[in-house]
């Protein structure tokens, strides 16, 4: 696979604030890479450094093998799609899309041809004569995309392009963007704080927090095998449940906060190998179920119906509430016991927050 973008030890400091710390990453041709994290995690700063809108304090950026760290944005052969589409209000959709080509002095017929080609892919053909004010927000975003696509850049950079849309449009555009990527296969670096967008669109997700990369992996990897507590909590809705355990020694199991002891050979072996006493069992709500004789006792606090499943909040120790998904229509209340699907459970070191494996 051809490397399209390479970030090497990229850091950015604003005064005393270290916005981005030592980010190293390769992005390959045709890949859809999503930078995901809460606000202030450094994801947008990283994107802006790739675009050339921000100068790194340390480190280098390569695009298609060429070092571009010192080059201005216009010479990096990238296209940036912003959150607020930044369309020219007095121009038609056609003129907006054509603008970058005309600025480059591309001949008229070629401009016509390329704009129509892009409009066709985006399903904008019938809207080309309209001005931004006459378009829906979804269509405005498509025009902004068209303007980026028409230049055939090496890399698309997108900064929360869907966040200006309402929930329903966002869902539709998410699917359309992903489908578009499957069709044209353009290398894309996409920034969002929305884990569902990241999960559903990315080939690989780069989870960031406090300026640092926490984990890089496919949606499945970060969902099923989070490297640390931050990733485990941030990915998923609701996030992974955390259940504090005290390891009592091999053959003796783990003690829960309510004093109960649970046994699981593989987990015990992990704890022994890692020499850990206090640890955290991480388990996603759909890998717990309400069972006649489960390992963990609790008391239902609330039942949230989602239509096709119920989401339970279960208190398993004073103040310790975990979430359990159940597909059954029947509702369970009061005292319940929860069965753990151990093959999907993670064990974390209480001290470091890192996953034990």
């Amino acid at each position: 696979m051809m490397e399209r973008v390479r970030l090497e030890g990229l850091s950015k400091r604003f005064g005393a604030f270290e916005a981005v710390q030592d980010v190293t990453l390769s992005i390959f041709e045709g890949e859809f890479v999503v930078f995901l994290g809460p606000s202030g995690c450094g994801k947008t700063t990283t994107l802006r450094m790739i675009a050339g809108l921000e100068k790194p304090t340390r480190g280098d950026i390569f695009i298609a093998g060429k070092r571009v760290t010192q080059l201005p944005p216009a010479r990096r052969n990238i296209a940036f799609v912003f959150q607020n589409y930044a369309l020219y209000p007095h121009m038609t959709a056609f003129e907006n899309i054509a603008f970058p080509l005309e600025a480059q002095g591309v001949p008229r017929e070629e401009v016509q041809r390329r704009v129509r080609e892009v409009a066709k892919i985006l399903g904008l053909e019938h809207l080309l004569a309209l001005r931004p004010a006459q378009l829906s927000s979804g269509d405005m975003q498509k025009v902004a995309l068209g303007r980026a696509m028409v230049r055939r850049p090496q890399v698309f950079l997108m900064d929360e392009p869907l966040s200006g849309l309402d929930a329903k449009h966002r869902e539709e555009m998410r699917a359309e963007l992903k489908r578009l990527h499957i069709e044209i296969g353009a290398t894309t670096v996409y920034v969002t704080h929305d884990q569902i967008e990241a999960m559903s669109m990315a080939d690989r997700i780069v989870v960031m927090n406090e300026g640092k990369i926490q984990q890089v992996g496919s949606p499945k990897e970060v969902y099923l095998h989070p490297e640390n507590l931050f990733v485990a909590h941030f990915i998923g809705s609701p996030g992974m449940n955390f259940i504090p355990l005290v390891f009592l020694g091999e053959g003796r199991g783990f003690r829960l906060e309510n004093g109960d002891v649970i046994r699981h050979e593989t987990m015990e072996r992990l704890a022994v190998r890692h020499g850990v006493r206090e640890c955290i069992l991480g388990i996603r709500p759909e890998f717990l179920s309400i069972a006649a004789s489960g390992e963990i006792r609790g008391n239902t606090v609330s039942i949230e119906p989602l239509g096709y499943k119920n989401l339970y909040a279960v208190e398993i120790a004073p103040g310790r509430i975990i979430r359990v998904e159940d597909m059954r229509r029947e509702r369970f209340s009061g005292n319940v016991s929860l069965a753990v699907r151990w093959e999907a459970a993670c064990l974390f070191d209480h001290q470091t927050g890192q996953r034990i494996r």
Binding site: P38, S39, D166, A167, K168, E171, R174, A175, K178, R179, I182, H193, D194, Q195, I196, M199, S200, M201, P219, K220, Y223, H233, F234, I235, G236, S237, P238, G239, R284, P285, E286, V301, S302, E304, P305, L306, G307, Y308, L311, A313, G319, I321, R323, E325
Partner: protein, 377 residues
């Protein structure tokens, strides 16, 4: 002047005490509200029962906030009545309605500590509460909301969730029986919103108070509400339990607004005891899919994404897109020109371009009249 004020204060205090001891039920009857040319609310009749968590759900501009403001007394209806515990409230000042209002933008006093922010409503001249009494109440509320350790901090030293809890606490100290909440969670990030959802729901149950809660987020509505009232363009569309609204939406608007991803809606026409779904090139025996009475010749058939099964059946579609949502996946299946949204378990593996058989769960079909958009049967 002064004694008149005193009299007023004591009569209000008495009023509030009385309210505090009785039920807390809100009734809107035929409420209309117009702002200039815009008809904000039309014929709203709605009952929020004592001790109920009622969620008013709708898109931006539906009239949700106006409804809440009319209950609180911040707006007066043009027509119709508002009752709290059977007492007509039209014309009664907001502070005399024993409702607490929690806004989207909780405004805490930045120069006051959490303790003083919580105590503020009690220190108002109107209530004349003793400091020792105030301390008791503030500490009680702080305990319930688990913010005891924050009492001496200023708001700028709190996280978003903590600030929201303080705002809630300030609404609680006066011990109102009715809480009016206008998108109180919408400024929080996704994670915090989930956590606050559970807290809010159990808080409401513990207090036994009546919550009238406004949101545009259907997940929030489904998960919080004992009942959900769906509002669109100033008109109430449906009132029901979350399950009712999800499984038996009253009309196309509710069907599409509630649920994620959206319900599949397919155009169908009836002929000689058969239902033709042209988009899918599918013909079904009507008696298999419809047990009700007479249907119009054209219908819209609604089917939730989880009611289409992949990997079985005779009809075939092409996988157009797979979206991994973590706990489950959404497959967009192309059949001719139609894209079906299908919810599949997380373990299911499908790849784009693959041809896959699919089966529609006939017993889950919903029928809508395409003209009135109402659900039939």
């Amino acid at each position: 002047m002064r004694s008149a004020g005193k009299r007023l204060a004591s009569s209000i205090t008495r009023l509030v005490r009385e309210f505090g001891e009785t039920m807390a039920e809100v009734v809107l009857r035929d409420v209309e509200k117009r702002f200039g040319k815009i008809q904000a609310l039309q014929g709203i009749t709605l009952e929020v029962r004592d001790g109920e968590f009622l969620v008013l759900l709708g898109p931006t501009g539906a009239g949700k906030t106006t409804t809440l403001r009319i209950v609180s007394g911040l707006e007066e209806p043009d027509r119709g009545d508002v009752f709290i515990d059977g007492v007509r409230m039209n014309g009664v000042a907001p502070r005399d309605r024993n409702c607490a209002f929690v806004f989207q933008n909780y405004i805490l006093y930045p120069h006051l500590t959490v303790y003083d922010n919580l105590a503020f409503p009690l220190r108002s001249k109107l209530w004349r509460t003793e400091e020792s009494e105030i301390r008791k109440k503030v500490e009680h509320v702080a305990r319930v909301l688990k913010i005891e350790h924050l009492l001496h901090r200023k708001p700028d030293k709190l996280s978003g969730g903590e600030q929201q809890r303080v705002a809630l606490g300030r609404a609680m100290v006066r011990n109102p029986r009715i809480f009016l909440m206008d998108e109180p969670l919408s400024n929080l990030d996704a994670k915090l919103r989930e956590e606050m959802r559970v807290e809010l729901k159990s808080l409401q149950k513990n207090l036994g108070a009546t919550f009238f809660f406004v949101t545009h987020d259907h997940v929030e509505a489904m998960t919080l509400g004992d009942r959900v009232a769906v509002l669109n363009q100033g008109v109430l569309q449906q009132v029901g339990t979350p399950e009712e609204v999800y499984e038996y939406p009253a009309n196309v608007f509710v069907a599409r607004f509630v649920g994620n991803p959206e319900m599949n809606l397919l155009e169908g026409f009836l002929e000689g005891g058969k239902l033709h779904l042209r988009g899918l090139a599918l013909t079904l025996d009507l008696e298999k899919v419809w047990k009700g009475g007479e249907l119009p010749s054209r219908v819209l058939v609604g089917l939730r994404p989880e009611n289409i099964l992949l990997g079985q059946g005779e009809a075939v579609g092409e996988v157009y897109l797979v979206e991994d949502l973590g706990a489950d996946k959404i497959v967009r299946l192309r059949v001719g020109e139609t894209l079906l949204r299908v919810r599949v378990p997380k373990e299911a593996e499908f790849s784009v371009g693959e041809r896959v058989p699919y089966l529609l769960a006939y017993e889950k079909f919903l029928f809508f009249d395409p003209t009135t958009e109402r659900r039939l049967g």
